[in-house]
Amino acid sequence: MAVAQDVKIRDRVVARRRRRPNAPPWWFMAPAMLLFAFVVLVPSVRGLYYAFTDWDGLDPDFAMIGLGNFTKMMDDPNAAQAIWHTLLIAVSITIIQNGFGLLLALGVNSIIKSRNVLRVFLFAPAVVTPIVTAYLWRNLLGPDGAVNSLLGAVGLGSLQQDWLGDPHLALWSIVAVIVWQFGGYSMVIFLAGLQSVPREIYEAAAIDGTGPVRRFWSVTRPLLAPAFTINLMLSIIGGIKLFDQVYALTGGGPGHATDTISTLIYKDAFTLGEFGYSIALAVILTIIVAVASTGQYLLLSRNERAAS
């Protein structure tokens, strides 16, 4: 009897060990990895290689030219300008769009009656196709467009401009269109952050006699750190990669006044057939994105830690 009992227990232990929760197998990630490798990894590595060649996109005979494309870039005023525009747009959008979005979030996080309607309404432009809103704005910002008509109608005719045709204004018009479209996006993320702040903290601060500005700076701002991280990351990377709006609003013009790295990549590859050079520009873009996102990540995660 005792032996039989022991055998039973041993069998049960063995069975349980065999059925012990086994880790999910590695092949679960195979489909995702294959797609990722085919679409992103392999072409990116090949891109890195082509950046050092004079490939034109068609001819299988191409030569390694070392750093040729990159030295050519140094002498190409369009490339230098495009890099400058890209950085200028990214930084301006990051500051203006998030400032605007934060104000909107504070506004709709109050007890105003229209807050729910306003949230839905102000976010709506963010889901609409950027190329479509850009074409709309191209007309609105034209010499005879609605913006100038409106300025004329309210007696500000002296401010009428050729918003997209003036090389000094065109870049800022593009920034304005993007802020119009994505201000509500920043708002929604800040709002999620604001709503995670416990009400009691505000009440305690109010009881202590803290004014609204001080309350924002000392209570709200530190607790919004995660929302800031996400918003700044999204807008700076979105700004660096910007293509659609520039393509539709100005096509990079007038002249090259609004060319970004992305529009230049497109033009060099598909209208000039300079694939090698174009990919070298993409490498520069990659480096800028990598530096910006790592830098921002390090900076903001330190702030987040300091704030918590």
């Binding site: 072409p43 506004g107 196709t129």
Partner: protein, 273 residues
């Protein structure tokens, strides 16, 4: 603090004023879309004799119906594939701490930083060699891979915060890992699936650069490319163009207003990771 005061009213008025300014382009869009091309009065003046001719003409000449179908197919196809493969991949990535798992995770995260412009041109050549250029399959394949890093990132972050107890129980009860994933893990991933679905669907539907590369010059176009082609073709006829823009916006806004709660929380929620 919670009472409606005069200052609250001031804030309300200011916010509504901002909303009016933000809504101004939409007013002009609709106003000009229903205006006959012969009417050349100021774009901000309300159109006195509205007409729907622009819409019928834009619909017929722009092949917008076909573009809508293509956009819908590409969006549904890509999003379904990317959610399926990424959630499955996230399971071992979040649960296994072996070196291969962490290595793979870092490799996928690299994809978050690589701008697709770098891969776009060499991939263009591959697609051409495979005879996929000009078909919507090129786009579905492209997005299914392109969106893997971001989607996997969302799933892994969410899964790591979930307790293992339920899947362990299922495995002890004799489930295979695939069954545990399908019947235990996947249902618990629902909130992050909604987020990933919303963000990916909007990204795919709205993308312009990729279909511009892979579909240009063919009859198979997605909505953004069809619109760009339409603008190029009817360059000066803005009333017609505006009607086409309205046609392309309506389906998006209908979905948005119907599902606004999930969509807004999707946009806000993904970001909490």
């Amino acid at each position: 603090m919670n009472r409606y005061r005069l200052s609250t009213f001031g804030l309300e008025a200011a916010m509504i004023a901002v909303a009016v300014v933000v809504g101004f382009p939409v007013y002009v869009l609709l106003n000009l879309a229903v205006r006959a091309p012969s009417d050349t009065s100021s774009p901000i003046r309300p159109t006195t004799t509205p007409t729907f001719d622009n819409f019928t003409q834009a619909w017929q000449q722009g092949a917008l119906g076909g573009a809508l179908v293509n956009s819908a197919l590409v969006t549904v196809g890509s999003v379904v594939i990317v959610l399926a493969v990424s959630s499955l991949a996230a399971y071992p990535l979040a649960r296994v701490t072996a070196r291969w798992s962490r290595g793979m995770f870092l490799l996928i995260m690299l994809g978050l930083v690589l701008p697709f412009q770098l891969a776009a041109l060499p991939l263009y050549q591959t697609m051409r060699d495979l005879g996929l250029l000009g078909t919507i399959w090129a786009l579905i394949l492209f997005y299914s891979g392109l969106l893997v890093p971001f989607t996997t990132f969302l799933y892994v972050g969410f899964l790591r915060a979930l307790p293992r107890d339920f899947e362990d129980a299922a495995l002890i009860d004799g489930c295979t890992p695939l069954e545990a994933f399908r019947f235990v893990v996947l249902p618990m991933l629902k909130p992050v699936t909604v987020t990933a679905l919303v963000l990916n669907a909007v990204a795919v539907w709205n993308d312009f650069f990729t279909p511009l590369l892979y579909l240009s010059g063919t009859a198979h176009q997605t909505m953004p490319v069809a619109i760009a082609g339409f603008v190029g073709q009817y360059a000066a006829d803005w009333n017609l163009i505006f009607a086409a823009l309205v046609i392309s916006i309506v389906p998006v806004l209908v979905v948005y207003f119907v599902l606004q709660r999930s969509i807004i929380s999707g946009f806000a929620g993904g970001l909490k990771g």
